[in-house]
Symmetry: D2
Subunit: 325 residues, 4 copies
């Protein structure tokens, strides 16, 4: 399923080394101001990172193929596309025989009976997240004045992030990251339980981002060892402000008006410059594989606008759905 959403609906398409990648946004209300320059900042955030970023040159210029007229949304579907360029597919055919550890090479090959486009990771490439970021730019306009802030947080250990990344990169290795998202100015009442709780929709989208392995809301895993008297957030006024925020701004799957907080773990990029063992389907033996090419050692910074976009898209869908209750 390459579509998500009930009222604000996005459909994503494209492969890393195909002609283009992008997204259709359906259900965007008419009359939202949209211009190419709106996308610049988030696309730039996604393209560049502090350290360890791929040296692939992506121009990342969006083309609005439909749904915008006179610089406003028309109410019809908005297709935003990005031409692919500067691609080098030479290494990838090899990975069909020797699937890279941590990547989707093996699962994609099996699921699609070897018909998958393996070049550059195909539809499983991080390249595809550019469509999410583009849709997020529009989603953020819809949910205004709800605001979303994402940041890397120090996972643990004494080193700062830059040092950690530098050390890993020097060793030809990669490192994971921990991202925190804080959402403010949220109205009370978003969320459509039983199944479409705020946590359900956000986590559904967040786990569609490649490399995400965990999410927690509010106090998250820490609640497992809390007592109720410690975990319950006492209500302090008629607008529902709470003294603490262990619930992460969500009760019963519905926003309670406090800050929505969640944290996401992103595993280290799977492509490293250290030899790794894998099964070779040609020789039928376990062999060492050395991955070539340009690869990120650290995707945490580039993932920030993607996580932000996912949160915005989930909230836009909930907000537009909510107006009907």
């Amino acid at each position: 399923m390459n579509s998500f959403g009930r009222v604000f609906r996005i459909s994503i398409y494209g492969e890393s080394h195909g002609p283009s990648v992008g997204v259709i946004i359906d259900g965007c209300p008419a009359g939202i101001a949209i211009s190419i320059s709106d996308f610049e900042q988030d696309l730039l955030r996604r393209k560049t990172g502090i350290t360890g970023t791929s040296s692939r040159k992506e121009t990342d210029i969006p083309t609005i193929q439909s749904g915008v007229f006179n610089s406003c949304s028309t109410g019809s579907p908005i297709l935003i596309s990005f031409n692919n360029q500067d691609t080098d597919s030479s290494d990838y055919e090899n990975y069909q025989n020797t699937p890279r550890p941590g990547h989707a090479d093996f699962t994609a090959m099996k699921k699609f009976n070897n018909f998958n486009d393996y070049r550059g990771g195909g539809h499983f490439s991080g390249r595809i997240t550019i469509g999410l970021v583009a849709a997020g730019v529009i989603a953020k306009k819809i949910i205004s004045p709800i605001s979303i802030e994402v940041k890397l947080i120090q996972a643990e250990g004494s080193d700062d992030i830059e040092t950690t990344v530098k050390n890993a990169k020097g060793a030809g290795d990669s490192v994971g990251s921990l991202i925190e998202c804080r959402i403010n100015n949220v109205p009370v009442g978003l969320g459509e339980p039983f199944f479409d709780s705020v946590e359900s929709l956000i986590s559904h989208l967040i786990f569609s981002i490649p490399a995400v392995k965990a999410i927690e809301f509010g106090a998250g895993f820490a609640t497992a060892t809390m007592r109720g008297s410690q975990c319950n957030d006492l209500i302090e006024n008629s607008s529902g402000k709470t003294r603490t925020n262990n619930s992460g701004g969500i009760n019963g799957g519905i926003s309670n008006g406090n800050e929505i907080i969640f944290r996401v773990a992103i595993k280290p990029a799977s492509s490293i410059k250290i030899p790794q063992e894998t099964y070779n389907f040609s020789t039928k033996k376990v062999e060492e594989l050395l991955i070539k090419g340009r690869h990120d050692s650290f995707i945490g910074v580039r993932a920030l606008p993607v996580v932000e976009a996912a949160a915005a898209i989930a909230l836009a869908d909930l907000l537009l759905t909510y107006k009907n209750n």
Copy 2:
């Protein structure tokens, strides 16, 4: 949204103190053997726990209203209902004025303009999970021989779980829990990225369970501080067996044939016997609230079959969808 699923679809209904609660299961293939006794064990697991369980007597006898004939599914929707009884709504009207900390009292009241059925928590009661458990019984038949095992795991600290619960209960308090789910005999290829990754569907359903605040797959949050050389699972044979399982059996959102592992944090039950402050909408002051009635101090054990059911339902939907690829 009280429905979930694409091909295997469930619709849940009911309030804690209404006439009945239950679930419609649509898209169940014809010819699956189903009898009332199939539900006994999981319903019993959900009803009782080791300690701290509510003393409410629920008979929890399912009635199959449709979709089963001659002890087999017919291919038509299966409605399984449970009559409510032994209910006492006397305390709940009060909570509309003084919303209980940690509960959905405030959010439900605001979202539904005070029209919500607040008795026993209404549609937000843990009572509603009985429908999930019933649907899970059928889902498990569909995904056979895929097997699901859930267990409580010691969160941290020196005490065992029983002691921890006993101490909390003695203090009129409640405690959270950590549940681990392991799924075996999973075929390679389940999951429908980009949006419907295995993690996305499972987390969507798991976060619909009241009180869940976190989920992680495989090494989960630990991957945030791992290096790629440590996190990547090396592939050892042609069926995709990996040496380690930090990915939790999922690559690129698709099952890789190894054990699927995830952990879920469940916050402590919100109803405790210790006075708590909350806002009183009548007096317009923050006041102490003392919650009466029968309430669980520990819902971890009762949550086990619910988590298991959620996993089974997500997998059944993915399995039936997958056959089409």
Copy 3:
């Protein structure tokens, strides 16, 4: 798929001779006044007809299992159920071997590998439409002041309907019917093209009603032989009133504020008291079949509230969706 709708969603269940039939209505806004007596009139219209109606005694008393509290919708799913009674399944086992012409006996048997509940036609019985009628009662409250009027129209020939039905019944035969539906006070702008035009949603629901074989909007089939100068409806004022109404109140799939008009053909009831040939799967020969039991000679009158309900449900979903544009 036994569910329909995007924002106003219904899920139907039940078999003719099972314990109960009914419907879950999800997405009904909170605060709609609902009481049992609201359903009486439409259920009575569905149960009785001018002539040729089945002598089966259905009490048709709805039970609201959930979603209504203090006589108002709560915003949670509303399950309305009807117990079945006065059923006689004795003839139906036979029809698995000798499928009745015009019925779903053959297709249901094949599709569901003989696991279908064939008693009384099972899930394919007209009995199932009672859930549609119940959901329609609530839909009509939501779309108010939009009003729906349905009536039988004289198909052709010199006899009036009563005489036609009387003659057919006397011959042990049945007759078809033509129903016209007129919808007024429709706001401009309902309909969600490209795919969810007003015509698309209404026809989708109307063709789910057993025995419907045709639908036309406005001038319908007559437009096939019209010229544009004759067919185009000239616009007369700023609210979009048109001089003629060949479009049936819909342009480009969107309501234009004029009366929505459509006509539906319902084939004659398939069960007749005249011997018919069919294939006997036991003897493997074509043989004469004589259908026993109580059956309607004319379902046109009973179908009126069902068509009305289908129109109301489609409009309720479009109206609630539209508020988001």
Copy 4:
């Protein structure tokens, strides 16, 4: 809603005078042979007609942006786009003030608060059907050996179609058309009642085609005046072959293995060269409007591949869904 389908899903986008139009096809199984030349014939059929066709030069060359690799579907979404060219938007701004009778000018303007892209009819242009035709080409590969044949049928009157069109064109007028669709080699069991009957899905898609005003299956409207003894199709053998085919190959919403037959009425093209009255929103008076530009007098022939595509898409979705029952 610009998406349709459960397992085989299409999302359509584009405006007549925007950069491009097209379709995303999601859920196409991997391994289907697809090349650009596969689309030629149907695109040509859509572009040209016997008489009265628009003189707009559309090159109509599809670009496959994703989802096809080494001439086979990959299992990922297939985006097929068509660049727009040879467009002239000069007349259209005017129609915002003087909406053309029979067109969506008025409804689109009102629904989207004047933000709609009105150039060339925008998203309501027949141009958009090119995406349906492209998706239909792939759908036909999936449903093979099911075959679909569409043809114009003489509506009534003594003139042949060519003469009728010629006469209308000479008078600056347009004419409607009647299309018949016959589908063979259909397996027994397609259709997902209660709501997703074969008739429901086909009619849903057919009514998304601009200008369609009516559909009937089998004997259709004629069944309204038939007796049951005349309408029922007697079953002649174990594969369900019937002597007559008044049901149009569908019983209880499920294909019965006989030919599926339906007929569709398409109203005359709304743009004619004869002055018509309409309301002028600037002058606030009813005034005569003369439509300029190139317009079809007869769209019946060009609509044939569109109707065929719609039928193929509905059947592909039902076929892929059915494998799960």
